[in-house]
Amino acid sequence: MYTTENTESQGAHLVVEGDGYTVMSLCDNLSMATEDVLWSDGSCCACPDYTTVPCAC
């Protein structure tokens, strides 16, 4: 059982202009987020809360 699942590949950058609307995909921009953060356990199971609990006392 995995906490985080990658379900699909990212879509292409996309902007749709129509009569009265402009719509954009944020997928490309959000797929640039990196995991290079010091307090991540880097786990395949994303665990942001667990590794940052107040624990050093």
């Binding site: 906490t3 990658n6 944020l26 921009n29 395949c44 940052t52 609990v53």
Partner: protein
């Protein structure tokens, strides 16, 4: 490829809808996590979604031929779904997956409580005096540490990485032990697990400053996390030494020493009522100390004894959110170096789906006590029902499997109807487990915990989504509407 034989269309039941200003809209199906931004034309897009309900794709195309590209985009972003398209997990499926044999893992983090003793008396200490041996001479032996590390390496696949986190209590109280564990890992363990990697980390208050600290940290590429809860006068109220003496000066001196030696130190602040209004000031203080990262974590309202934090120490979630958003927008720290933004943005990566709030139920983050007992979480140390292994027996996955099922967002009563659940995974489960486990009621703490898990998480994710949209709109230049920089004031959560 999307199947065109869809039957009647519907809007995903997991739709997060955010609105900003007069005409902007953000749509996300949290089950698929492919955010879509409407820079202008909110009403038209919402109208199209209404019109699509119950119609076939072909019928919609006939009625709205001019909007074919938009319909396709709504399909690709999983906003518009067909009758049989998947949107949630069912109970049997969750249980079947939990019961599958454990697969070798890519990565694990083992938390070694090298001692449960500490030289500080933080006002919000998670270690309860009944469950943790805080004053007893509790020290892990090198044999226990190495055996536990080996047990984790056995669960890794070839090429996988084990992060060994020296934890406590205050781990630097057992610096000689830490060095011995590293020595044995490097000289003995690596030979037996040549196809797996070991990385080292220490979470310490850094009030102790052994002379060879820098040398060992650098030699072993260790990462460091420490806690500075504010400028000196604030920090010393939150994190005094045992007996009450101020501790900031010593921690700050060690941090500066490490930073001057080129070691990256991440600094974290635990937010309580005492420092909730000093978040910007504290972030600047982290920067002045030379930190590589700055993090702000709302205090957990329950400790390992299932005792709740005093009401007067509970911060106000609304004030935390406001200050953190203000800090984020100030640009003092980049997104990549500011928690929670740097990690929460990972929840928004296309295709991500979080089904539990943390990795604990997966067994990727075991916590080892000095005697070798293995627990699900540092908040649950000492509670027998959350112990799933010992030094001398194989780790028993049944607790993990049960937790994976009970904490799955499609099983948690407060989560399973929420559109955000696959973005947050239900948040930190400690409060839920404490409540389930018969902790005495504390209405204010429980409400605080709920708001941190829900409102706080939503607010951070919302800020990140809008920020991403604003940046993208800026990149596209003239011809698209310009960002107004307005606060997120008309956000609705559907």
């Amino acid at each position: 490829m999307l199947d065109e034989a869809l039957g009647p269309l519907h809007v995903t039941e997991n739709l997060i809808t955010l609105e900003r200003g007069e005409d902007e809209l953000l749509l996300v199906n949290s089950f698929s996590m492919r955010p879509m931004y409407v820079a202008r034309g909110r009403a038209q897009v919402k109208g199209l979604l209404e019109e699509a309900r119950g119609r076939s794709l072909e019928a919609l195309a006939e009625r709205r031929p001019q909007d074919a590209a938009l319909v396709r985009m709504l399909r690709e972003h999983r906003i518009l779904l067909g009758a049989g398209e998947r949107e949630r997990y069912i109970g049997e499926e969750i249980e079947a997956k939990a019961a599958e044999p454990a697969r070798p893992k890519d990565k694990m983090t083992v938390f070694l409580l090298v001692t449960e003793a500490c030289n500080q008396a933080c006002i919000y200490c998670l270690n309860g005096s009944d469950t943790y041996q805080k004053s007893a001479p509790s020290v892990m032996s090198p044999d226990v540490a190495v055996a536990s590390i080996r047990a984790c390496l056995d669960k890794l696949k070839a090429g996988g990485t084990l992060q060994v986190t020296f934890f406590g209590g205050e781990p630097l109280l057992q610096w000689a032990l830490i060095k011995e564990v590293i020595r044995r890992c490097e000289s003995e363990v690596r030979k037996d697990y040549g196809d797996r990697k070991i990385a080292y980390h220490i979470t310490s208050n850094l009030t102790l400053n052994p002379p060879d600290l820098i040398e060992v940290l650098k030699k072993n590429n260790m990462t460091v996390l420490s806690d500075i809860d504010g400028p000196p006068e604030v920090h010393d109220r939150c994190r005094p030494y045992l007996g009450g003496r101020p501790s900031h000066a010593q921690s700050a001196a060690t941090i500066r020493r490490l930073v001057d030696a080129g070691i990256k130190v991440a600094l974290r602040t635990t937010i309580t009522a005492l420092n909730q209004d000093a978040i910007l000031e504290t972030a600047a203080h982290h920067k002045a100390l030379g930190a590589a990262n700055s993090g702000f974590v709302p205090v957990c309202a329950v400790n390992s004894d299932k005792d709740y934090l005093a009401d007067e120490l509970l911060p106000d979630p609304d004030r935390i959110i406001a200050r953190l958003v203000e800090l984020y927008r100030s640009g003092l720290w980049s997104r990549d170096n500011l928690f929670p933004f740097n990690e929460y943005v990972l929840k928004l990566r296309p295709g991500s789906r979080q089904v539990t709030g943390c990795a604990a139920p997966s067994g990727s983050t075991p916590v080892i006590r000095p005697n070798g007992d293995v627990y699900l979480c540092i908040y649950l140390v000492g509670q027998e029902k959350f112990r799933y292994g010992t030094l001398s027996t194989p780790w028993d996955r049944r607790l993990l499997d049960r937790s994976s099922v009970s904490l799955h967002v499609d099983n948690v009563p407060g989560c399973k109807a929420c559109a955000w659940r696959y973005a947050c995974g239900g948040g930190c489960p400690v409060m839920k487990l404490a409540c389930l486990d018969g902790a005495p009621a504390s209405p204010r703490a429980e409400e605080y915990g709920r708001r941190i898990n829900c409102d706080f998480t939503r607010a951070i994710l919302t800020e990140l989504l809008w920020d991403t949209a604003t940046r993208l709109r800026g990149q596209l230049g003239p011809g698209t509407p310009q960002a107004d920089g307005a606060p997120v004031d008309r956000t609705s959560f559907c």
